[in-house]
Amino acid sequence: MAVTAQQEKAPPSQAEALYQAQLRKERLFRTHVGASWGVLFLILIFLFSGQEIKLGPIQYQTIQLDSEFILKKLGFIAQGLGQTLLISALSIAVAMTLALLAALGRLSTFPPIYAVSTFYVSLIRGTPLYLQIFFFFLALPQLGINLSGVVAGVTALGLNYGAYMSETFRAGLSSVGKGQREAAMALGMTPGQTMKRIVLPQALRFAIPPMGNDFISMTKDSALVSATGFVHELMWRAVKVGRAQFNNLEALIMAAMFYWMLTLILTYFQGKLEARLARGDR
């Protein structure tokens, strides 16, 4: 007991001092990165300011934007945010379902199921997303299936991301150790129960962070469905007003800003989620 009392009064240990120094260093680093981001952002704004730079004989004109147009049409483009988010959310839900089925199919020892799952993944990953989106607008009506723009877009995006995300699920499934399966079987669970109650929950948890990244990519890839002209999301709106008033650049830059903002916000929440999962783990 006497020893502990002495230790309490003693100056901070070397380990503690090192830890504090490390913390200070990290804080300083973050401050500097933040400041640099600010500078880079200012440079970006300057590039679009329409200013003229004179450096001796060299004259340079930065990009000139029509600010009146921007202010007038900001609202119109912003209305697309909801559609973009809606399409992304629906598509990711479809994708997750398909990805799970495809990943489970890959585990099947029944040849037709294994074949369907690998065929699907191969076909989708072997063709461009842009093409797949058009396919749904052009081919399905010939079969007498007329999907609304949103439904067709969601189907195409969902199918596409499902194929890629099946790999994430596969990794998740294989991350669950053989020991967990054996434990479940040893308790008297059937193979089906083992999959449903033990393996899948652990695999899903493993797959959540990468799925967050996929969702963020999805918000941007959803822009491709605008090409069909039926879904009035961010990109479609930007193209429409830009074309109508010959202000394409302004409109696209506004859309870009919205996508970026969306990505920043989603990345922030993604980070929170990941930290939380990491804390609850083990």
């Binding site: 967990q180 054996e182 079987m185 040893a186 008297g188 669970m189 059937t190 089906g192």
Partner: protein, 232 residues
Amino acid sequence: MDWVIEARELTKTYTMGEIEVRALRGVSFNVKRGEVIAIMGPSGSGKSTMMNTIGCLDRPTSGEYILDGESVAQMNDDQLAGVRNRKIGFVFQSFNLLSRLTALGNVELPLRYAGLTHGRRERAQKALEAVGLADRVHHRPYELSGGQQQRVAVARALVNNPAIIMADEPTGNLDSKVGKEIMNLLLSLNKDFGATLVIVTHDQKIAEQAQRVIRLKDGELDYIEEGKGGAE
């Protein structure tokens, strides 16, 4: 003779794409009720495959297998799960506890799958006390030492009063002192409750405590050795 295990010409072939691994190539033997059996053999000789097959974790590719009077070959997944739950207790080398459950939860689960509705918690608690873990019941596996995790596994294996306890290198991941404690625990289950004990091991000292040692080699039965251990 009162056999708990009658294995006839068991084979097990794993197919991985083009490659076929013949892990068991026709193994026959019997195990008496209340016997202590050790399975030995070089790495890759099929010991774990053997244990998984007679433990009904996996089906044999061919052969006949009668466990406690019931033929296993024609059983479906549900029936096999039931047999594992009622008749067999497992102890694995890497403990194999469910990582999201406490010690008590892990021990209680077999009782739930056995369809018990009352007194599960109390029985699980008693089993944990029996293996000397009364003060660790609410710990998760990662909060326990290897030896303690293996004790939980033993408690899980015995909680349903199974006829057979199967242990695949139960001391393989433990130091010799803790390994000895686990072995003594398993042997006492045999002595005190008459449980049949099948132990896969690389350790000659452990094998000496068995009544018979089954030696496997390249998926075949090499020879059976009469040991000196066990309660005669």
